[in-house]
Symmetry: C2
Subunit: 515 residues, 2 copies
């Protein structure tokens, strides 16, 4: 299958139906296809060959849609660039993927000079914007207007369709290679659950399109012949008004966005009754937020996805009905129709329900691998299963409860301790400003539960107080056996505590048996 088949089917089934809506301009599927075939001709004119990579650094827009399809039209792969990254990180991903053509919109035009300097691989920069753009960039509108439509190059199935760079708190960014079939099967599987887009969907792209989550929605809407509505950034009031104005039926958000949408005074009076399906991921929603969301959006079916780019991206889905169950709403749901998921121990053997281990998955959405990283690919896809690095357990009905990152899980005296559970408990003490719970070497227990605590301003809880606080709330073997009070925490740019730095002080030359 090919990513372009959604476009062609949409043209066949509704040439005059709206394909894209952006900033007051609407284009039909026939117009969209015409522009895509011209843009594809322009890209080919710049020397783009089947298998080549072309990148886009842009806020959400209709051009984003056209650019991705134009790349596929001539058998090239698209690389959606994370707009939150530094120039150095972006330049790294362009160099790493060998991308010679980059489209930049006016929001990021100021980076072009530095990108060209730091990523000499770049040969052509296309510019999408109202003004003429930087001198050395070609106007994408002029290219579209000045190019002839070209015939499609058929390249699909297991061929590379896209590379998504993922960062994380450790190591250099890796390019996740997804095939045409990866993206299509994942979209079909999510649709098959009954919780996701349908023919006729009107979909709002407000989550960033450089993430695989929104692109999965994009693929589904193409397959369903729906309408894409784009907004360059999330703003609760604006999004609420767009939902009302465009009668949006489907969107993907993260819980923080949902919180803003249901709590924002600017969104309070918008009619959002058209919103039939709201998919969220990134993290579960708090019980209180679920309740507020159901109250504010009573006709909207809430679905949670546990997902990762390497799975294109859906792994599990928690459906609308399950959000009404007080226990299940804390789960990530169950394996989607196209996915197999298991919980395994360190040797990749299944563990029984209720026992935590690493979450592994495979199925039609499993990535081809990491671009140019055979070693990391072999590790991640050992035995054919994607090793998520997340720790979780299943209940007797296959519901997944994610408990920790595997590398943050502590095995003390044979018992699994999830750092997040201990941290959440510690954090309820008023004397704790920030905390991290890690495993440190211990001659008797193998690993021992160790807490690093940044005290709350003005208050200084004693080790004994904190230990008692935790012991009253969770099982004894989870209580930190040692404490360390610090003045500052090592943090990543994304606001995550760098636990590896904390652990390194203790482990130095010893090897941990959880990796």
């Amino acid at each position: 299958m090919e990513i372009t088949q959604g476009l062609l089917r949409a043209v066949q089934q509704g040439p005059d139906a709206p394909a894209t809506v952006f900033m007051g301009r609407t284009r039909t599927w026939a117009e969209s296809a015409e522009r895509i075939a011209r843009l594809a001709g322009a890209l080919r004119g710049l020397g783009v060959q089947p298998g080549d990579r072309v990148a886009i650094l842009s806020a959400n827009s209709d051009i984003y849609h056209e650019f991705m399809l134009a790349a596929c039209w001539i058998g090239a792969a698209f690389v959606p660039v994370n707009t939150r990254w530094s120039v150095a990180e972006i330049a790294f991903s362009l160099e790493d993927s060998g991308t010679a053509v980059l489209l930049v919109d006016e929001n990021f035009a100021s980076s072009i000079f530095d990108l060209r300097t730091q990523a000499p691989v770049l040969k052509h920069v296309l510019f999408d914007g109202d003004d003429s753009g930087p001198d050395d960039a070609s106007s994408v509108e002029e290219l579209i207007a000045g190019s002839e439509p070209v015939a499609e190059v058929h390249r699909g199935g297991d061929a590379l369709a896209a590379i998504f760079y993922t960062g994380g708190t450790t190591g250099v960014p890796k390019g996740v290679m997804l095939s045409h079939d990866n993206l299509i099967v994942s979209a079909l599987g999510s649709m098959a659950s009954g919780h996701w887009t349908r023919p006729g969907a009107i979909y709002l792209h407000t989550a960033p399109m450089f993430h695989a989550a929104d692109i999965s929605g994009w693929v589904a809407v193409n397959l369903a012949g729906g309408t894409h509505v784009f907004t360059p950034r999330f703003d609760a009031g604006a999004v609420a008004r767009m939902i009302e104005e465009h009668r949006i039926t489907d969107t993907i958000l993260v819980p923080t966005m949902i919180q803003m949408l249901v709590d924002s005074p600017e969104a309070a009076h918008a009619d959002m009754s058209s919103l039939q399906r709201l998919l969220y991921g990134g993290s579960p929603m708090s019980e209180a937020l679920i309740e507020r969301t159901i109250a504010r959006l009573p006709g909207t079916r809430l679905t949670q996805a546990y997902a990762m780019t390497e799975m294109s991206p859906v792994i599990t889905l928690l459906g609308p009905e399950e959000h009404h169950d007080p226990l299940l709403r804390r789960s990530g749901g169950r394996a989607a129709p196209h996915v197999e998921m298991r919980i395994v121990d360190e040797d990749d053997n299944d563990v029984p329900p209720g026992t935590a281990g690493q979450i592994v998955a495979r199925g039609g959405g499993r990535m081809l691998g990491y671009w140019n990283r055979p070693k990391e690919t072999a590790e991640a896809l050992a035995n054919g299963w994607m090793h998520t690095g997340d720790a979780g357990y299943l209940d007797d009905d296959g519901y997944l409860f994610v408990v920790d990152r595997v590398k943050d899980m502590i095995i003390s005296g044979g018992e699994n301790v999830y750092s997040t559970e201990v941290e959440n408990t510690l954090a309820t003490h008023s004397g704790v400003g920030m905390c991290a719970v890690i495993g440190v070497p211990d001659p008797r227990w193998g690993e021992r539960v160790h807490a690093v605590v940044l005290p709350a301003g003005g208050v200084r809880a004693t080790e004994e107080e904190l230990r008692r606080h935790v012991r009253e709330r969770i099982a004894g073997y989870k209580v930190p056996r040692s404490f360390e009070f610090v003045d500052s925490m090592p943090m990543s740019g994304a606001g995550k505590i760098l636990k590896r730095q904390l652990r390194d002080r203790h482990w130095n030359h010893q090897k941990r048996h959880v990796s």
Copy 2:
């Protein structure tokens, strides 16, 4: 992906939920999996290797389900045998596919001796039935009880999962090779339309399981973790009572079965309100039958599929809402989310909407090819598209109207004439018992519309009367220019008129330009 992943997911998500219901016995998904792993062990004990074919000649049953999954469990392919075929035809398909192991149920036990004689390839016959069965057959229940469960052999993706033999009115049967991905993507695509099974579906297998249509439903129900209810044959009253008793939510029928179900006095008092989705194929339904079905089953969503085994099998779907439109209900619907479909001329070029040509399709469900028939495969899959042999046209919204078999289409003076349209018109004259409209060579028109008529008993309409009858109803160029009155029609075993025989008398040594 692998066919077994539905089984494994169902066990993970509902081990104690009912997997199969047949003749008063219910087996949970955990029990089903246990029996499948044992049956797989038994098959391996008989020498079945990955890639081998194993066949089943049986009415619908839970063993059918177990046998297909057991084959996949050890990487073998299953061959569902058409129970309506003669022993000679079945023996041909077993020999052609090189099948050494055959499971036969008690309905077909009497064929075993002849099959063994005519298909020496057979090494082992398994018997499913209450009595002990023929001397030379092994009891499948004893094999399951006496075998150890074996570990799964992982063989999926593009690997062969099944061979379905298709006959037709011409030529020898051909084995359609479908891969794991073919069957899974087709099921996901149909589910993605929103018109097909959902998680929790309770599905009635009453259409024969040797057809790809019911097997597509079977794959979907496994993926959805639903329940399979089996009935060995279609009986309107019994099926209505089963729908009531088991709260059936989904089934696949052909229009004739639907007619019996909504018209049968035995079915009149059954509560069929549980039936949420009813998929039908094989042919469109008459307007009157659609109305009666909607009246009898007001809560049931009717969906038509235009399908063929070679596409695993769905090509287009006509959804429930479209059944209320007087024009669209005569259509076969639009390309399903996982399918690309086009209408092409003799050189495989697209024809515009409204113009008839051959229906071609591709997508995730497109077969691997015909078993051991590279020439027929290359012809059928020319340019990568499955050439259906059906003639049809699209309207401006991509709705497909099937008009004829390509080989029955007549091109007279540059105009396309669909034999079925002329036949349907002729048949409304009381003097016509049976008729066939074919193209015969004509020096002026290339082909000329020629009618072969078997008069109705006691009445003899003249050529002139019939010509006038047709001219009053359809366009002049479609009116037969010559007539032939016959005493008998050449018929196939399946009750179809053998038009090729009728044509051969006229064409002899001339080549037709529609093939």
